[in-house]
């Protein structure tokens, strides 16, 4: 069976040294690149495994945020009476949920990396970072499906003369989703590293995520926070606040933004990059001996 094509690649100067690590940042990028096939296969697996065995299949990816949007429109806007800048509340919420669901999906899957894969990690080595990275990319498919549904609703609202506008500025949604992805990956890596050590966090994460959602302008406009004397600072302290508001500005208002929003977005971008760097460092520290304790 030893045909030349199936022989191991020549690895003349290949040398791996395994010893207790001293440096606190040791990321083998070359190795990450070598495992790119695993990355693409895991992306596929995450997507397929999530809806196989369900009757509605991939429809769940859009049904979940859609139902949330409907429930929240009734609770916040119809009963709670929160105004939505003259935009129909359903599309107002649905739009903000584009970036928010992507964020919360990434956090939920990423934070459980070590605990959910402890069996796998205890048996075979590969760069652990591949797992949360694959999850974050595969969640983009859900975002894509959601975006299609959003556009369908948008078309209907636009046709019936609602106060919604879209233009070229809609393309700005792409960098916004990118910031969301980077920030959520960073936060989820930090959470994964901490959850491996303190199991309590796995109970705390969903609660935290819910509080975070209500502290972000998902079901109400940003000015509700900025105009609030007590909680105004929250809009600046929460990197997701500007991202969620901006998503709506570019997809529903033709790109109109409040004057302080670009500054806030700059802060969000910096926070996202910082979170990713810290997350990768913490994750790499945790991955080396995590199998001894999980």
């Amino acid at each position: 069976m030893a045909e030349p094509s199936t022989q191991p690649e020549p690895t003349g100067n290949y040398e791996i040294i395994i010893e207790p690590s001293k440096s606190w940042l040791r990321i083998n990028w070359r190795e990450m690149w070598e495992y790119r096939d695993l990355l693409s296969i895991l992306i596929r697996r995450d997507f397929l495994a999530k809806y196989k065995q369900t009757v509605l299949g991939p429809i769940w990816f859009v049904l979940q945020p859609l139902l949330t949007a409907v429930v929240m429109s009734i609770a916040f806007n119809k009963i709670g009476g929160i105004d939505t800048d003259g935009i129909p509340s359903l599309i107002f919420n649905l739009c903000a949920l584009l970036s928010w669901s992507y964020f919360s999906q990434n956090i939920t899957t990423g934070a459980a990396t070590f605990t959910a894969n402890s069996h796998l990690f205890g048996k075979v080595y590969f760069p652990r970072l591949v797992v949360p990275a694959a999850a974050a990319i595969s969640n983009l498919f859900a975002l894509g499906l959601q975006l299609i549904v959003f556009l369908a609703f948008f078309a209907w609202y636009a046709a019936t003369g609602s106060n919604v506008h879209i233009g070229l500025s809609a393309l700005l949604a792409i960098p916004l989703f990118l910031i969301t992805g980077i920030f959520s990956l960073g936060v989820s890596l930090l959470l994964a590293a901490s959850t491996a050590k303190y199991r309590d966090l796995s109970h705390l994460t969903p609660v935290l995520l819910q509080l975070w959602m209500f502290a972000s302008p998902v079901f109400y406009p940003m000015k509700k926070i900025t105009e609030n004397a007590t909680f105004g600072w929250l809009a600046w302290a929460n990197p997701m606040a500007a991202v969620v508001e901006a998503t709506r500005d570019v997809l529903l208002k033709g790109g109109q933004m409040s004057p302080e929003l670009p500054t806030m977005l700059g802060i969000s971008t910096l926070a996202a990059v910082l979170a990713l760097v810290l997350g990768v460092i913490a994750f790499n520290r945790a991955e080396r001996t995590v199998v001894d304790s999980v």
Binding site: T6, I16, L120, V124
Partner: protein, 429 residues
């Protein structure tokens, strides 16, 4: 392959130690972490946070301690040793699943490990999808998997089930597919841990065949952890005995195995030659095994017997409720797991056993067994009605001495038993 590394050992293990915590693995809840932060309560948080200080720390143990050996390209190394000796820890370090506490391992080749077949199989995905997933997890590139796809499918014999989710596979099919992927890995260094424990006998044969095929192609280095000493003997070019976390002996498989068997004594259940059954041992409401003891002709409890002396086997058990039609069985096995014989007290029991303490004694005559390692295992059933006790602990022992085969050579004599055979030789009868 460039000349630089071709002549250097493909695996070098230098002063490798691994320490594990045994109490709790650092603070595992936030409350504990806060308590640990109080003055005077400082605790190391992870197993490796001890740094490289020497000396023992309470609540920790050394799974490996100063292990040193190196392996040349093409060697097939069998790691043997008792459970808990540190064999699997060593493989985990070599396969980079966890880091050593001290020391250094240098690998000069692509490595793949096979610590458990089916690693990373996803039940909802089809056989085809799982071949690609599992292959990638084990470190294969997509093109490598594609190149070997047909071969893998053929080896696994799953043919028409290729597009069925693996959760619908029988356990036999699952194991075959998992092993097929793993067997077609082409690393320069392959780590295998106990995979041969699974599957039916025919499939095990096929796996061993595949392993020796891979081995015989040359150039591949294999680490093989197994309790199957026959497989180690047949496949390995070298054996390393791991004992109490150190590499005690390294050399020709035959020599190392002999040394290992001579030192084999049960450890977890008290002294050599006796099992005292614990609470969790198999039992039924009416019947519980108490102990199984081996004695030599001087009435000493022991686990090493001369080939010509009888072995006295004593099984003690407690009947707690009236029990109909029960008999006790003690079976003799080789270390490969083959059943040699079964002894029973069937004829000596009354149809109904009254509650009380019982003892059944068997005497295995001298001059029957071969010079090798065996084990006894006790069980009980009510013939034609039901099994009572099975699957209990094995009590290992070794037979040594001159034996009966009339050969003066110090060779290992084949066979599960070696009874006294009347032999004559005549010239021109």
């Amino acid at each position: 392959m460039t000349a630089i590394n071709a002549n250097r050992p493909i695996v070098e293990i230098e002063n490798v130690s691994k320490r594990y915590r045994v109490d709790t693995l650092g603070p595992t809840s936030l409350a504990e972490a806060f308590r640990a932060m109080l003055p005077g309560r400082k605790q190391p948080a992870t197993p490796n946070d001890f740094g490289v200080r020497n000396g023992d720390i309470p609540g920790t143990f050394w799974s490996l301690r100063d292990v040193n050996f190196s392996v040349q390209r093409g060697e097939i190394v069998g790691l043997i040793g008792k459970n808990g000796a540190g064999k699997s820890t060593l493989l985990k370090l070599i396969s980079r699943i966890t880091e050593p506490t001290k020391g250094r391992i240098t690998l000069r080749g692509r490595i793949a490990s096979l610590l458990e077949v089916g690693t990373g199989f996803h039940p909802e995905l089809t056989g085809r999808e799982n071949i690609f997933l599992n292959g990638a997890i084990l470190g294969m590139k997509r093109w490598e998997i594609q190149a070997k796809f047909a071969e893998i499918v053929e080896f696994a014999e799953v043919g028409s089930f290729l597009d069925t989710p693996v959760k619908r596979y029988s356990s036999g099919m699952f194991v075959r597919l998992a092993f097929a992927v793993a067997a077609h890995l082409d690393p320069e260094i392959l780590l295998i841990d106990e995979v041969l424990a699974v599957g039916d006998a025919g499939f095990q044969q096929k796996c061993l065949g595949k392993m020796s095929e891979v081995a015989s192609q040359g150039g591949r280095t294999i680490f093989f952890v197994s309790h199957n000493l026959t497989a180690i003997r047949a496949l390995c070019t070298r054996a390393v005995l791991i004992e109490d976390g150190t590499a005690k002996l390294s050399g020709a498989p035959e020599e190392v195995i002999t040394h290992y068997l001579a030192a084999t004594t049960p450890t977890s259940e008290g002294e050599a030659g006796r099992i005292v059954y614990k609470e969790d041992a198999p039992s039924v409401d009416e019947l519980r095994l108490t102990s199984l003891t081996l004695r030599n002709s001087r009435d000493e409890v022991c686990a090493i017997f001369d080939a010509n002396e009888p072995i006295h086997v004593e099984l003690r058990y407690r009947v707690t409720e009236r029990l109909r039609g029960a008999r006790m069985l003690v079976s003799l096995y080789t270390t490969e797991g083959d059943l040699v014989l079964t002894m029973t007290d069937h004829e000596l029991h009354k149809p109904t056993l009254e509650p009380g303490e019982y003892c059944t004694r068997f005497a295995v005559p001298g001059g029957l067994l071969n010079r090798r390692a065996y084990s006894f295992c006790a069980s009980s059933d009510a013939p034609g009605i039901r099994y009572l006790i099975s699957g209990g602990k094995h009590l290992p022992f070794t037979v040594v001495g001159a034996g009966n085969h009339l050969s003066q050579f110090p060779e290992r004599w084949p066979g599960a038993v070696c009874p006294r055979i009347t032999t004559t030789v005549e010239l021109n009868p």
